[in-house]
C-alpha cells in the first residue's frame, strides 16, 4: 500500500527521525511500535491507517501487526484527530465518591458531546477515564499533560471554557 506512488505520506521527516531514534533501545524493532504510535499521535492527534502502514515499513513489520497493537489500547484514534485538548475525566471509585461522574456528565452536557467525542470546532475531546492515580485530588481530570485537581462540575466547566 505504501509503495503506491499516488499515496500521500503522512509521516514527516521529523517523525521518522524521532521513531528511528528509539530503535537502538531495544533488541527488536517491534518494541518501537508503541513509542512510534505515541510520536505520530503527538504530531497529528490521531494515527490514520496510512501512518500505521508507514510505521510498519520503518520497523519491518506487517501493517496488521501495528494495527493489532494500536486497536488493543483503544487510545489512538484513527478516523479524525482528537481535540486540541484531550480531557480525561476520572470516573473510578475515589473520584466517583466525590462527584467525578457529575463532572463528566456536566462537561458532556455543556459541550453537547458524548465521552470519546470532539467538539465541532476541534477544541476539546472529552474522554471517560479509569483511575488517573490522582485520588488525593479527587475528583480530577487530565487535560493533555496537566492534572486538574479538586474539581466540581462548575470549576471543571470553567477550566474547559478557558481552553484555546
Amino acid at each position: 500500500m505504501t509503495t503506491e506512488t499516488n499515496v500521500e505520506r503522512v509521516l514527516t521527516d521529523e517523525m521518522v527521525d524521532q521513531i528511528k531514534a528509539y530503535i537502538p533501545r531495544y533488541p527488536s524493532k517491534q518494541a518501537v511500535v508503541l513509542p512510534a504510535l505515541h510520536i505520530v499521535n503527538e504530531h497529528l492527534r490521531y494515527v490514520p491507517y496510512q501512518a500505521v502502514a508507514e510505521i510498519a515499513e520503518l520497523l519491518d513489520l506487517a501493517p496488521a501487526q501495528v494495527q493489532d497493537t494500536l486497536t488493543f489500547y483503544g487510545f489512538f484514534k484513527q478516523d479524525k484527530p482528537h481535540g486540541r485538548t484531550r480531557v480525561w475525566v476520572c470516573r473510578s471509585i475515589s473520584c466517583a465518591l466525590r462527584g467525578g461522574e457529575a463532572v463528566l456528565d456536566h462537561l458532556c452536557h455543556k459541550l453537547n458531546i458524548k465521552p470519546g467525542e470532539t467538539t465541532p470546532d476541534g477544541r476539546v475531546t472529552i474522554e471517560a477515564a479509569e483511575c488517573l492515580g490522582g485520588c488525593e485530588f479527587a475528583p480530577c481530570m487530565l487535560a493533555n499533560e496537566e492534572l486538574v485537581k479538586n474539581l466540581d462540575a462548575d470549576s471543571a466547566a470553567a477550566y474547559v471554557d478557558g481552553l484555546k
Partner: protein
C-alpha cells in the same frame, strides 16, 4: 509506632526533592557506590532475601527469591522491567515517588540490576502520569551526565542503561507478562506461566519485573541493612508456614470520604482504622464509615466492623479479602449505596479485561450488564446469585483464567454481595416491586463498549 521514622517519604516536601543535587545532599547514591565496591551481585541478592522484602506491587512475592530464580551463569542479556503502570484504582504511591523523589527509585533500580546482572532496565510507565514521565526522564538524563549510567559506572565493570517506555492507558499492562508483551510492541495479553519471566521474559530473555516502591525499598535496605528492614513490620506467623512475614515500611494511600486524602508511610501491619483515623483525619462531614476498600478495588471490601484488620500480607484473607494489594484504602461513608460501589467496580473491570480469556471477558461484561439493570430498577433477586456464580468461577484461584485480573473483578462482587446481601435485596425489592422474583431470561439494557 511513635519512633517510626519515614524513609520512603523522607525527602518529600523538600524544595527540588526530585533533583540529583538534593538527593545527593541527603546521602543519595552512596548505597550504589558501596555496593559496587564491597559486594558481589550474589551478596546483594542474599541481603535482599535476608531483609524479607516482599514486592509492593500487589502480589507480595519475596523480592530476593524472585531474583534468585534467574538462571545461573546465563550469557545474557538479562533485562529488568520496572512496573510503573500503577493503574489499580485508588493507588498513587508510586506516582508520588516518581514525581517527588525519582532518584531514590533509580538508585534501587541500579542496585537491583547489579544484583541480577541486568544491563538494560525498562521503566514501563502508565500514560496517565505525564509529570512522572518528565521527572524520571530528567533524573535519568542527570545520571548519564554525571557518569552514573552508561558504560563502566563509577569505574567499575558494571554498565547499565535505563529507558522509559510509555504505556497507552491499559490496566492489563500492570500484569507482569502483559507488561512484557506490551513492551515488545504487541497487544498486552498476559502469558501462560510457566515459563516465568525469570526464565523467559522480555525478548525471550531472563527478566526481572519489580514495582517502583519495591525498588525504593532496595535503596534503603542497601543503606541501612537487612536487620533494620526486618525490625519494622509484622514477623511471620510461626503457626502459618506459608506466611513470609510483612516487613519494612509501606506507603499507604487513603482517599474517598476522608478529611485528609493522601499518601502516608507507616510500618506494614497498621490497621485500616489507623489509616482512616490517624492519616485520613477520619470520615468526612462528621459521618460514620460504612465500608472501605483495603488495597485497590481488586482486593474486595471491608465492612466498618472489619476496620481493625491489619493491613499486612497475612491478615486480609482472614476477613474474606483477596489480600493486601496496593495498600490503597478508599473509604465510603454511611450514605454510599453498595449498588453504586459494585456498579463502579464492575464497569472498571469490564472496561479493562483484555479479552483474552473467555470467562473474564464475558464474565466481567455480563456482571456489568446485570449491575446496570439492577441500578436502573430492573434487578431480580436471581441476579445476585448469578453475580456470585460469576465471582466464584472467574480467575486464577478457580483456575479458569491466565492472569489475576479476573480474581480482582470477582472479589468486589463476592465481598459486596456476601457482606451486604440485605442491602442489595432491599434495593432490588424497592426499585422493582413487581419483578424482583422474576427468573426468566431478560434482555440486557445496553451493550457496553469494551476493548
Amino acid at each position: 509506632m511513635s519512633e517510626f521514622e519515614p524513609v520512603l517519604l523522607a525527602n518529600i516536601g523538600k524544595e527540588d526533592s526530585h533533583t540529583l543535587k538534593v538527593y545527593e545532599s541527603t546521602g543519595g547514591y552512596q548505597a550504589i557506590r558501596r555496593v559496587l565496591k564491597e559486594m558481589s551481585p550474589n551478596d546483594v541478592i542474599e541481603l535482599v532475601k535476608a531483609s524479607g522484602l516482599r514486592g509492593r506491587g500487589g502480589a507480595g512475592f519475596p523480592c530476593g527469591m524472585k531474583w534468585s530464580f534467574l538462571p545461573k551463569d546465563h550469557p545474557g542479556p538479562i533485562y529488568m522491567c520496572v512496573n510503573a503502570d500503577e493503574s489499580e484504582p485508588a493507588t498513587f504511591n508510586n506516582r508520588i515517588l516518581m514525581e517527588l523523589d525519582p532518584h531514590q527509585v533509580l538508585e534501587g533500580i541500579m542496585i537491583g540490576c547489579y544484583a541480577t546482572r541486568a544491563t538494560t532496565a525498562y521503566i514501563y510507565l502508565r500514560y496517565e502520569y505525564p509529570l512522572a514521565l518528565r521527572r524520571l526522564q530528567a533524573a535519568i538524563d542527570e545520571l548519564y551526565a554525571a557518569g552514573l549510567l552508561g558504560k563502566n559506572i563509577l569505574g567499575s565493570e558494571f554498565s547499565l542503561d535505563i529507558y522509559l517506555h510509555r504505556g497507552a492507558a491499559a490496566y492489563i499492562c500492570g500484569e507482569e507478562t502483559g507488561l512484557i508483551e506490551s513492551l515488545e510492541g504487541k497487544r498486552a495479553w498476559p502469558r501462560i506461566k510457566p515459563p516465568f519471566p525469570a526464565v523467559e521474559g522480555v525478548f525471550r530473555k531472563p527478566t526481572v519485573v519489580n514495582n517502583i516502591e519495591t525498588m525504593a525499598c532496595v535503596t534503603h535496605i542497601a543503606n541501612r541493612g537487612a536487620d533494620w528492614f526486618k525490625s519494622i513490620g509484622v514477623p511471620a506467623d510461626p503457626n502459618n508456614p506459608r506466611d513470609a512475614g510483612s516487613y519494612g515500611p509501606k506507603l499507604y494511600c487513603v482517599s474517598g470520604h476522608v478529611n485528609r486524602p493522601g499518601c502516608y508511610e507507616a510500618p506494614l501491619g497498621i490497621t485500616c482504622r489507623h489509616v482512616i483515623e490517624e492519616f485520613g483525619g477520619g470520615v468526612w462531614k462528621g459521618r460514620k464509615g460504612k465500608a472501605a476498600v483495603p488495597g485497590g478495588i481488586s482486593m474486595g471490601l471491608l465492612t466498618e466492623a472489619e476496620f481493625d484488620t491489619p493491613l499486612d500480607f497475612n491478615s486480609l484473607a482472614k476477613v474474606g479479602c483477596l489480600g493486601l494489594g496496593t495498600a490503597a484504602v478508599t473509604v465510603m461513608d454511611e450514605t454510599v449505596s453498595m449498588v453504586d460501589y459494585l456498579h463502579n467496580c464492575c464497569r472498571f473491570f469490564a472496561h479493562e479485561s483484555c479479552g483474552q480469556c473467555t470467562p473474564c471477558r464475558e464474565g466481567t461484561s455480563w456482571a456489568l450488564r446485570m449491575m446496570e439493570r439492577i441500578k436502573a430498577g430492573k434487578g431480580r433477586l436471581k441476579d445476585l446469585d448469578l453475580l456470585l456464580e460469576i465471582g466464584d468461577t472467574i480467575g486464577i484461584i478457580p483456575g479458569t483464567t491466565i492472569c489475576g485480573l479476573a480474581d480482582g473483578a470477582a472479589w468486589p462482587m463476592k465481598n459486596a454481595i456476601r457482606k451486604f446481601r440485605d442491602e442489595f435485596e432491599d434495593y432490588i425489592k424497592r426499585t422493582n416491586p413487581n419483578g424482583y422474583m422474576e427468573t426468566k431470561p431478560v434482555e440486557a439494557l445496553e451493550v457496553v463498549g469494551i476493548h
